[in-house]
């Protein structure tokens, strides 16, 4: 019995969301296979697609941080660097698994310490705190020459060889696979108690507290998860460049990481992939604008931030609603 006489609404958009946990990774793997085996793009386009996949992986964690827990950080380039340098230093001597794990462990340790220290702060203060953290990271990368070889960076880092592929296609395959895994984890987290706790912590902290959620602990957890995915993303970026250099993990990289989920649509399961395509691939294909390339990109970011807070997800939802309405006539 419907308790309340409410006006006729379009058929309730009842979505069984449980299937997404498998379908999203499957779609990504399918697209990856098609690109690799059927489309076979040229070296430059494949390299750009791999970079998109690498940043999408890093952005999954960031989508959890900004989209679920509602925490803004402009210093995540630090975790990219942790993954990148760990790979550049350890991949050849110790093999890929140790390198990836080492990067993740270092990133997690930094994230836990920084999270506990900074997460009591409010929006701006935390954001600028992470900016300072990123700046400190750059100073360390440039000057701890014994480990990071300073500005000259570390070259000769190997790449993840999979299924007998060589060169960028192997990195692309690895990136697509890892992206599928992380998207599976993102959806699993979203429907788990921890994920719901993060989301309610973002929307309404007093209600979250009343429901028994330790809001600051969930924010630290989100910060650590964003560090894990950034470290893995960083390792892939290092493989692409054949080494780790301070200029790869600068503030501009941290800003790109922040912009990807915002343009994609915070919290949306496709935000990391869609956002990465816009933020990483678009500038590559705007090269014909030459000098004005970055100016156009800046204007795009500002307009999305001000007039389209829901990002591309907001457009998609509008489209789906319009199609939905048309079907219901």
């Amino acid at each position: 019995m419907t308790v309340v006489a409410s006006p006729p609404r379009p058929a309730p958009s009842v979505r069984t969301t449980r299937h997404w946990r498998w379908t999203q990774p499957a779609i990504v793997l399918l697209v990856g296979a098609v690109v690799l085996l059927v489309v076979r793009p040229g070296p430059f386009d494949l390299r750009v697609l791999t970079l998109v996949a690498a940043y999408a992986i890093a952005a999954v964690g960031f989508n959890v941080l900004v989209g679920f827990a509602g925490v803004v950080s402009i210093g995540n380039s630090l975790f990219l660097a942790a993954g990148g340098y760990a790979w550049a230093i350890l991949a050849v001597p110790r093999g890929p698994l140790v390198a990836l794990l080492a990067g993740v462990v270092v990133a997690v340790v930094i994230a836990v310490l920084a999270g506990l220290a900074l997460l009591r702060l409010r929006a701006y203060y935390f954001a600028v705190g992470t900016l300072a953290l990123g700046a400190l990271g750059t100073v360390v990368m440039r000057n701890w020459t014994s480990v990071t070889n300073g500005d000259a960076g570390i070259t000769g880092a190997g790449y993840l060889k999979l299924f007998g592929l060589t060169g960028v296609s192997s990195i692309f395959a690895a990136a697509v696979l890892l992206l599928a895994v992380f998207l599976y984890l993102q959806e699993a987290l979203r429907t788990s108690p921890l994920g719901l706790a993060m989301i309610v912590g973002r929307f309404d902290p007093p209600v979250a507290d009343a429901l028994g959620v330790n809001v600051s602990r969930t924010r630290v957890a989100a910060f650590v998860l964003s560090a894990v995915s950034a470290a893995v993303g960083g390792a892939l970026v290092a493989q692409l460049a054949g080494g780790a250099f301070p200029d790869q993990f600068s503030t501009t990289a941290a800003i790109s990481l922040l912009v990807i989920p915002i343009i994609g649509g915070r919290g949306w399961r496709w935000a990391p992939v869609v956002g990465a395509i816009v933020v990483i691939a678009a500038p590559e294909y705007l090269r014909f604008l030459d000098e004005y390339r970055l100016a156009v990109y800046g204007v795009l970011v500002t307009l999305v931030a001000l007039f389209l807070p829901g990002g591309i997800h907001q457009l998609v939802r509008g489209l789906v609603a319009r199609v939905g309405r048309r079907r219901h006539g």
């Binding site: 040229g42 070296p43 430059f44 050849v92 999979l162 299924f163 060169g167 460049a241 250099f245 030459d290």
Partner: protein, 391 residues
């Protein structure tokens, strides 16, 4: 539904195990092998890779103008055997990942050769990609590590840091200066040169009384110069890019350094005089371009309108780089492999760079165009540049 769920689960575990077993770390170059010849088209494309955004945007902008003016001159004079040349200018923003990607982009767009880039770490990262794509690269970054890798496809304009250091050591000896205070910046430029410098000085029996670093974006460097003054050094060797020399000059004036500052070729950047004004004095450097050379005078005459005042050396070296590549194409046609082989026999005494009579030449064993001795010493005197006495 239950059995399907279990098999799905098993499949996932199996693929994960297979992947874990199969993955290892490959170290061979990570670029697709595409030795395709240059795409025929109405124009011969030459890839120009510059850090147009980011910290080195200023010198990159001067080089870009130099490349564009030179290309216009070549095309006005009928191009290469009748076909015009087209420059595919791309911005790598000083980022190694973008730099490596651009190598593939140039190859994909049919470039015959790549002139680029300015930052040593990016050129070092591009080395594998260039070799794999089998396209000749003429880099103007000056770290000697670039040609030390003996990549047959990579050439350097030079003089490298090593070349400049031999020049510096020779001058120190002739001036009787024995106690250097060594200041290097923390960018790849300074950090890369520091060990080479220390070796060069040690070989000449000179041990630095002070060895310190500084940041290129520092507002004030008087602190590090004060240390140099108090260290009992009789001269300062400062290894950095252009604008910091202005900050060093002002700092020297503030602390009353009173010692000569020996710098790198990038001290020729007109920004030094513009930023430091009369404070830019007592700074000695080896200029890649001797402004007294007739052909240099001619070009400076033609271009000074474009640059509103002194034509930066970066623009002049861009002229030489493009000329070397176009001479090669004119000799063997727009074929990458032939152009590479030809470059190893290239010899040209009347380019702009270097001292009067210096020769720009490559050989199978030497991929550095200008070697140490080819440079001319200059000095700042109350904000103006003149030939250094005793050069």
């Amino acid at each position: 539904m239950r059995p399907l769920r279990r098999t799905g689960l098993a499949a996932a575990v199996l693929t994960a195990a297979a992947v874990l077993a199969a993955c290892s770390t490959g170290t061979d170059a990570s670029t697709q092998p595409t030795p395709a010849a240059a795409a025929p088209g109405n124009a011969i494309t030459i890839g120009i890779d510059l850090p147009l955004s980011g910290p080195s945007a200023a010198p990159a902008e001067s080089m870009r103008k130099g490349f564009e003016l030179t290309a216009k001159e070549i095309n006005d004079a009928g191009g290469v055997n009748g076909t015009p040349i087209a420059l595919d200018i791309q911005d790598d923003a000083g980022d190694p990942t973008t730099g490596v990607a651009l190598v593939d982009r140039f190859v994909q767009n049919g470039a015959v050769a790549i002139a680029g880039t300015y930052n040593s770490p990016v050129v070092l990262a591009q080395s594998d990609a260039v070799a794999r794509a089998q396209i000749p690269q003429l880099a103007f970054a000056i770290s000697s590590a670039i040609t030390k890798k003996n990549n047959p496809w990579v050439f350097q304009t030079g003089p490298t840091d090593l070349g400049q250091i031999d020049g510096i050591v020779a001058r120190l000896k002739s001036q009787g200066l024995t106690k250097p205070a060594l200041l290097t910046d923390t960018t790849a430029f300074g950090a890369g040169a520091k060990p080479v410098l220390e070796q060069g000085l040690a070989a000449a029996g000179l041990t630095p009384v002070l060895s310190d670093t500084f940041a290129v974006d520092a507002t004030d460097l008087s602190a590090v110069l004060l240390k140099a003054k108090q260290s009992g050094a009789d001269h300062v060797i400062a290894w950095t890019v252009g604008p910091p020399y202005a900050t060093l000059a002002k700092g020297a004036e503030q602390v009353g350094l009173g010692l000569p500052i020996v710098g790198t070729a990038s001290a020729a950047d007109p920004a030094v005089a513009r930023l430091a004004g009369p404070a830019a004095t007592n700074i000695f450097f080896q200029d890649a371009v001797n402004r007294e050379k007739p052909q240099v005078k001619a070009i400076v005459e033609k271009w000074s309108g474009e640059f509103g005042g002194t034509v930066p050396s970066d623009a002049l070296s861009a002229h030489d780089i493009l000329t070397v590549i176009v001479d090669g194409i004119r000799a063997v046609g727009p074929d990458r492999a032939k152009l590479r082989d030809h470059l190893e026999t290239y010899r040209n005494p009347n380019l702009l760079s270097g001292r009067i009579g210096s020769v720009w030449e490559y050989s199978p064993t030497n991929h550095v165009g200008l070697v140490g001795g080819n440079l001319v010493w200059k000095q700042y005197d109350n904000g103006t540049v003149r030939l250094a006495d005793g050069s």
